[in-house]
Subunit: 210 residues, 2 copies
DNA sequence: GTCTATATATAGATAGAC
DNA sequence: GTCTATCTATATATAGAC
């Protein structure tokens, strides 16, 4: 049994609860009792609940953003002509590697991302563009290369439709996986879900302009 | 100036605030001050915040569900072979008619739906299936007819991806429309957004099975 | 049905002993 | 760094006068 410091215990408990219940519905008392630490330690280590939320997200983004940048750069370096499906395949490994980084890391990260967008009234979007704008731009650029028939604006919208599919599904993935088990006797895990959603969004993004 | 009763004033204020800020972040005090009614009237008319949330959703679902059922039934009656894009076109009129039913009704409804799914930990899903299960099943049935190459399970997942695209985009539509204006000098309204998302989800849903 | 006043619970945050 | 105890604000909900 390794010793985990208080700061990490708080982050671990907070990310699970935030992902499951959302930010507003998760009190500091719930987090600290789950983490088995003292209530006051949250403010000591993080200053406020808002800063705790940022720290939880940053821990994932600091792993995910460089990983995605790396797979995208490999794709760019490898060949001239970039194929649509390859672009989205670039997401798979960085997303799934979060599952070995943290228990259920992929689901947690995507849930947090979705909740952050919907609950924070735009603050998260600003935070991500400010701190991780480089890889967002790179992803945009590569999608554009793969879809020369689409305008920047059309790509802007379609990438948001994509984001919606992914974060909404992952945000309810626990419930959906249970339903799939009950109704279809199907065992789906997060990896299976990602492999289902990639063809869906790839087809949507590269569909002919209206 | 027509006279609006207290109950309706509360519903009108609540739906706007719930759609913009989410359920947990919207207090009864905020609702009643916006509605210019007394705080105690919420409990008098609705019993509790939870029942108010249900009433807000029910007001939309009671309009939307029969309208969708009607357009789907027309499609079934009209012809033998059902085309994929026609199925999703069945959504357009029932969704847009909410905009004349209530100010920004389409956006509000889809925001509430998305937030309900993500914030209520499955209660809303149960509520919808219990009270409006008939039209959900009908929609599922028609999608299946239009996509005989897909299994029920595959359709189950793809319709959730679809739902995610729609509710996530609409839930942030105000911010996204602002960004589109700033970055692309594009004027997009809710109708334009729906006409953008329909081809996206239609392509995704009917894409070849993996 | 609508109001004031208040009961009751819970939230985030902090002071100060150890 | 960690604890107990507590401050302060705000939440939902209700009792009872009008």
């Amino acid at each position: 049994m390794q010793k985990i410091d208080t700061k990490t215990k708080i982050l671990n408990a907070a990310e699970q609860l935030f992902a499951e219940r959302g930010f507003a519905d998760t009190s500091l008392r719930l987090i600290t009792s789950q983490a088995e630490v003292n209530l006051a330690s949250v403010n000591y280590h993080f200053g406020s609940k808002k800063e705790l939320i940022q720290a939880v997200l940053a821990r994932y983004l600091d792993v995910f953003a460089p990983a995605l940048e790396s797979t995208l750069q490999s794709l760019i370096d490898k060949q001239e002509r970039i194929d649509q499906i390859q672009v989205f395949n670039c997401l798979i490994e960085p997303l799934l590697s979060l599952d070995s980084y943290r228990h259920q890391g992929t689901t947690v990260f995507l849930s947090l991302l979705g909740r952050g967008y919907l609950e924070s009234q735009g603050h998260l979007r600003w935070y991500i563009m400010t701190n991780y704008g480089k890889v967002v731009s790179l992803f945009n650029h590569v999608v554009r290369e793969a879809n020369p028939h689409l305008s920047s604006e059309e790509i802007f919208w379609r990438l948001h439709f994509t984001l919606g599919s992914v974060v909404f599904t992952m945000g309810s993935s626990k419930a959906l996986i249970d339903i799939a088990k009950a109704d279809f006797n199907a065992d789906v895990d997060i990896e299976g879900l990602i492999h289902r959603v990639i063809p869906f969004i790839a087809a949507g993004v590269s569909s002919p302009a209206k």
